[in-house]
């Protein structure tokens, strides 16, 4: 799954560690999500959406299956 997490994080001028702290996950989890190697769970996706004030669909884009 693709996502715009890196761009959104950049708009806030947050490091991966900053975002990880706000989401209460590890920096490595943030990196794995941004690089598309890991798709977050629904609760975490909602948390991300709430943090950036966006809908889940505007942040996460399903990849081609």
């Amino acid at each position: 799954m693709n996502n715009h997490l890196r761009e959104l994080r950049g708009e806030q001028d947050w490091s991966q560690a900053d975002l990880a702290e706000r989401l209460e996950v590890s920096r490595q989890t943030v990196n794995a999500i941004e690089t598309g190697k890991y798709d977050p769970s629904l609760p975490l996706a909602f948390k991300i959406a709430r943090l950036f004030g966006r809908s889940i669909e505007s942040i996460f884009v399903p990849g081609q299956e």
């Binding site: 996950v25 590890s26 920096r27 490595q28 690089t35 190697k37 890991y38 975490l44």
Partner: protein
């Protein structure tokens, strides 16, 4: 994993491991000298007590991890449990066929083999998710992991060398074996770190 979780794990893991090591080095060799059955049972099972605390630390580590870390732990444990189960099944069939004749002491190897396979497969799972290292947060330490392992190896090797005249062959063997294991692990991590640093530049 937050730094607090990682530091808590270190605090909860190393003291019982140290106690386990001291029991195996200092008390376990006294077993043949005991004549009372209850004392023998008590001393034989004594190493299990600190191991239970280690297990508690590991459980709290996993429960305190985030979702990706828990998935990596799960993959590591699943692979390790499957491989160890398959090996014990194969060993069991060979023993039933009379091809090998293991005694009960082979059971002592289940835990260390499981732990080693768990660490290796957790490292592999971490790579799949682009997580560096073995998926455990290392942000709590100021000293790189490979240096810590090499220092521990040197320390154990030094203690074994200095005290070998006062040790039994068993104690000396255990200390040397652990020193060698830690040294090899540290060397592997150091080489990997050097390779990655060189190729990242």
């Amino acid at each position: 994993m937050t730094r607090q979780i990682h530091q808590r794990y270190q605090r909860e893991f190393w003291p019982p491991m140290l106690v386990y090591l001291l029991i195996m080095l200092l008390l376990w060799p006294l077993l043949p000298q005991l004549h009372s059955a209850w004392l023998k049972i008590g001393l034989a099972l004594l190493p299990v007590l600190p191991v239970l605390f280690v297990v508690r630390a590991m459980v709290r580590l996993v429960l305190g991890s985030d979702e990706l870390e828990q998935r990596i732990h799960l993959i590591g444990l699943a692979i390790a449990a499957t491989v160890v189960s398959a090996l014990s099944l194969a060993g069991g069939f060979l023993a039933m066929a009379g091809i090998i004749h293991p005694d009960g002491s082979i059971l002592i190897w289940v835990w260390p083999v499981l732990v080693v396979l768990y660490a290796v497969s957790r490292g592999w799972a971490s790579q799949r998710y682009g997580v560096q290292g073995d998926g455990l947060c290392d942000s709590g330490s100021r000293i790189a992991r490979h240096w810590r392992l090499l220092l521990a190896a040197l320390l154990l090797g030094g203690i074994a060398w200095l005290g070998h005249s006062r040790m039994s062959d068993y104690q000396f063997g255990v200390m040397l074996g652990m020193s060698a294991g830690l040294g090899l692990g540290g060397l592997w991590l150091a080489l990997r770190h050097w390779y990655r640093t060189r190729h990242a530049a």
